[in-house]
Subunit: 683 residues, 2 copies
């Protein structure tokens, strides 16, 4: 495992006159290796194992398959993933696993480089279904855990319902306990309660982890959402009596994942099928839980499943890096447009506008991967501690909640970046990018739903901001934004800078700032300060806008909270950008050779200046920057993409994308072309 | 044909204190009909005919077909389109057509509402292949024109080559004239000269209109790019000797279009196959043309094909309106997230953030359709004049060039908006939007390549700006940006406001402005003035940056021109936004009832304020707006989406999307849901 540096002395300060130097026009391939080492993060062995697996050309996605062929292909590929041993890391040693959380998360992320259907199928099986049984269940579910790890028991994660996507507290599926037979009766009371979009349901799943409202005899109200495992198919693949299974058929992508639906008709399962880590029902029907509040219990359960959110973001990041690698390599190969009849056509990368399409996106991918690496390390370390989630210390609780917000933020940031950057690479490669054989459209189609998976991005962003406002007691946690008004603002007495895992490096940078410093857009400490200031101002003004709502009647308060939704979303983005910048510094501090440091510094500058340019209006409105400086940011960004242009292939090589993804028709060099076909070739 | 108003008296001025009123919360369906009348533009009968055709449910796109099934389906549907008679409008009466250019363009646009494969196949056959033969050919090609109209001769438009996409002047395919046999010898001399991405090539095409460098005996240099028709398949569908045909297979969408490749191996075709409207070769091999400069000749030919660019933009617009209609209607149906346990879940449209996702995009679609209607009318009127393109008056030449830039601008604006808005609707409808049966992913996949079709958007934007700079003589027209430096700046002595077809209305607005007026972001005249000022400032500063290049050596000048690419692109967008605003005013001036005027005024305000918000940084840098005003723009936009929220379904109903596209599973109402499943339902 790589070391986290404890000092930032190697991140040089810059003055305002220190515009970045232009890099040598001849790139140095060894810089790729140094950068890849940092990008590969804290679990390089797991990455290397999966990277080796992905050199298998049969694991490359294929277009033109029927739905059944695609599903068959993915199910077979799942066994190959198991053979690497990677999935065992997601489970504790007492469950037959290895407890290498970080390794498994990094390994699942790596699958995203090639085939997102395989990544999702893996995520559903080992992450969501497996995660539910292993983290919400107890010893009595041990055999099922061992079976699901080794693919003897394929299962669905039956949370989402037709009427309830991101709002899972409102689920309608019911489980009533019947003490006579010691069974739960699973039922789908309405059309909107149909379980919906479930991977592994339409074809392969034998089991489902069913999220449902739990009722015990004599209790009018639900004890809240709980999870019960249930057989859904017999060994021969036919549905069991009491369960109706549907098939979503063709989707916008991810054809290899067999998404389907489930409906329960008073379907009885044994009492022991309740995943009883956080709550249980006795044989006679007594409900018990160590966690009093249904809300807190529910969020404790969700928290135990945070890894799904992490891998969705991380794998979207990997898919993006593949697309950027294809787009960048094509830009170094393809020539188009002679500036003049007397001159040869230029390579795409030699057009400034093309560099502007590529480099800020490459830079953002760098930052996102650094931030995701820190998140995965953080989860790994937390899990390694052996948390008892029902009985957390206040420090653990805070750390966990912070990490969950961190995961939500990076899920949004990675998936939104995927949607933008993969689309841009499709367009930047013209007609070639539209041919399925060149894989960009497959990456686009498959990644498209990642903004929706594991919570819609717009909902997730609001969740991040609620956590940032910080005043929540655990028991009032909820998806409702109104809670902010009721509970959030009493304790709000200033902004607490949330930890991102890069704390020591960042603190050193900030400590080095003095009043005498003139701020420079190229100075790391000034950069840090500017993004912190943005986040703080946005949060403070949000709190100011919300405060009056506390004295309003509910319907008025609801209206006010609705009006601040866009403000909440801006806060979350400001937080995300700050988090990425911090991750850059952490990564830079681990580099040892000067050239690599110089290159990565420019990549970070590109990221930072892009943030400034994209938000120039806000910085100007706030008088945090003058027009001269925002113009300077634009000019600086242009200079940097010129400097990094020749290095862009080195930058994407460091992503370490499996070579099968680059062995595509559009990468074949074709005949050198004459500048213009004016000379009379022999006919 | 609807009348263009000659007065703007009905567009009321607004003071800065006149923030828009909130519309009644109960929308009025008759407003839809009034708005649809304006949206349907100047050729409503053609629209109505195609709209009736599209109620045929077999013309709705289907997912899950094999490539062959999809192609078969589209080819059959083409015959149904022919039966409406719409394609005849693309051809002159002396060619067997009806000369109703505007009707055909509007009709092809309408196909975009449902199936872009059918639109593209129609566009390839009647627009591109048909357009090439009818507009570049002469009487001797009359029989072929009649055959191609009635689908007896299916053909490809063989322009693009593997090595040359948007840069068609650099094509490499050669045609050498052989006076011995009175034949042209077509040849593909290099791998990069392979004809590429051609619709109708892989399966159906019997003919191709081949763009190639023309050589005559004794001439070392090519006469430039010309077009020759050639048989590519025998009647039984086998390739003719001398032509090799390839198949692109699966693409990112448009599966119904049989894109393929062509290579010529010294393939001989009769001399008469040269499309000889603008140039000819005599039996003995003498080349002649009324247009001296090869560049001018080439751009004259391209100009005759401008309709392809128009329909690509227009159809992308129609597809976008379908997606926005689906997304908006779903937002009025779907409930998600109760603000509080005591309250029912809200409809998506009742969340402010959701309104912000929908309404600015709906507003832009309104503006784009108004602008596209004006463009189609302009082309129709020009063609109705019966232009002799080889001998244009200076006024005609200017008018034509301006119209071509207009078409390029709207191609970019419509296709970029399609990519953005269809994607947003997919995300805003969550998992439902990802199911192919709900059609959004099909619209997304099929429309995706429209940003590349008919010239990559980044290239087109630069072309628009070059035309705006205005100093070009026709003979120096070129795709090279360097020409701007050489020829463009001598004559550049101020900005000429280009006509967009809304001139009278706009002039009245501007005439009404006095120095005493306080400017208001809600006042039409101030809005107009601000967008004109933006366009002018950007163009003037671009010209200033380019001027020094005239004295530089070529390689230095090339570098300078490369550095202004992003500036050129900003100019083009400023022009596009201004053009859309003008089209809004034109449309508003034709409305007669007050409520519809009031609604459309708010839609225009949403468009305008979105432009201000999206470019706030620039307006602030330029001191054209203060921070107080850009904040005011954001607040005003928020108020407007609140006001228009309940009306959003009325707004999309006015798009008149064929009902088959809304007859999809996600539009089925499902059981009303309980606020929370807390009450104990009978088990």
């Amino acid at each position: 495992m790589a070391q986290t540096s404890s000092s930032s002395t190697r991140i040089p300060r810059r003055r305002s006159t220190d515009a970045p130097k232009t890099l040598p026009s001849q790139p140095e391939p060894e810089v790729s290796r140094a950068l890849q080492k940092v990008l590969d993060g804290y679990f390089p062995e797991a990455r290397a194992d999966v990277r080796a697996l992905l050199e298998d050309p049969t694991l490359r996605p294929t277009s033109g398959l029927t739905v059944e062929e695609a599903r068959q292909h993915t199910t077979e590929a799942l066994s190959k993933v198991l053979k690497t041993g990677m999935p065992y890391g997601a489970f504790r040693a007492d469950q037959g696993g290895t407890g290498d959380t970080g390794g498994t998360l990094s390994g699942i992320e790596m699958l995203g480089h090639t085939d997102l259907s395989l990544m999702v199928k893996s995520g559903v099986q080992w992450g969501l279904f497996g995660g539910a049984v292993s983290n919400l269940g107890t010893e009595r579910h041990g055999e099922l855990v061992r079976d699901l790890i080794e693919l003897r028991a394929l299962g669905c994660f039956a949370m989402t319902e037709r009427g309830h996507g991101s709002d899972v507290q409102s689920l309608e599926t019911t489980a009533h306990y019947d003490p006579e037979t010691e069974e739960f009766i699973l039922n789908s009371p309405t059309a909107s309660s149909e379980k919906w979009f479930l991977g592994n349901a339409a074809r392969d799943g034998r089991w489902a982890a069913v999220f449902c409202q739990l009722y015990t005899p004599g209790q009018e109200e639900s004890h809240g959402v709980h999870c019960i495992v249930a057989r859904i198919r017999n060994d021969d693949g036919s549905p069991v009596d009491g369960v109706a299974i549907g098939d979503h058929g063709t989707k916008g992508g991810l054809l290899g994942v067999d998404n389907g639906t489930l409906m329960f008709d008073h379907y009885r399962v044994p009492r022991e099928n309740l995943l009883n880590r956080f709550a249980d029902v006795s044989a006679t029907g007594e409900y018990s839980s160590d966690i009093d509040s249904p809300n807190a219990r529910f969020f404790t359960m969700l928290g135990a499943l945070v890894r799904g959110r992490v891998t969705v973001g991380a794998a979207a990041g990997a898919a993006t890096r593949t697309a950027l690698t294809i787009g960048t390599k094509y830009a170094h190969l393809r020539r188009q447009f002679a500036p003049d009849d007397s001159l040869p056509e230029k390579k795409l990368i030699e057009h400034r506008q093309h560099r502007i399409r590529l480099l800020p996106r490459i830079a953002r991918s760098y930052g996102l991967q650094f931030a995701t690496n820190l998140l995965i390390k953080r989860i790994h370390d937390l899990e390694a501690e052996g948390l008892d989630r029902a009985n957390l210390t206040p420090e653990q609780a805070r750390n966990l909640r912070e990490m969950e917000a961190h995961a939500a933020a990076l899920k949004v940031a990675n998936t939104a970046h995927a949607t933008d950057a993969i689309q841009e690479m499709r367009e930047a490669t013209g007609g070639a990018g539209y041919m399925a054989e060149n894989l960009l459209t497959i990456l686009k189609e498959d990644s498209d739903v990642f903004t929706t998976f594991e919570g819609d991005n717009v909902v997730m962003l609001q969740l991040v901001t609620k956590e940032l406002l910080g005043g929540f007691a655990r028991e009032v946690q909820s998806f409702s934004n109104l809670e902010m008004v009721r509970f959030g603002l009493d304790n709000f007495s200033g902004i607490l800078r949330r930890r991102t895992g890069a704390d020591a490096v960042v603190q050193n940078l900030l400590d080095a700032l003095t009043d005498a410093d003139e701020s420079s857009l190229f100075d790391p400490a000034s950069q840090m300060q500017l993004l912190i200031e943005r986040e703080n101002r946005l949060l403070k003004s949000l709190a100011r806008r919300l405060r009056p709502a506390r004295k309003l009647p509910v319907d008025e308060a609801v209206k006010l909270v609705d009006k601040v939704q866009d403000h909440m979303i801006s806060c979350a983005w400001a937080h995300i950008d700050r988090m990425i910048l911090e991750a850059f510094f952490e990564a830079e501090s681990t580099l040892t050779d000067e050239r690599s440091q110089e290159v990565l510094e420019q990549v970070r500058d590109v990221f930072f200046l892009s943030v400034v340019c994209d938000n120039a209006g806000w910085f100007l409105e706030q008088s945090l920057l003058t027009g001269t400086r925002t113009k300077g940011a634009r000019a600086g960004l242009a200079d940097l993409v010129d400097s990094l242009g020749p290095w862009s292939e080195v930058l994407v090589d460091a992503f370490g994308v499996p070579s099968t993804m680059l062995d595509i028709p559009m990468m074949e060099p074709y005949d050198a072309m004459t500048p213009k076909a004016k000379a009379n070739p022999a006919s």
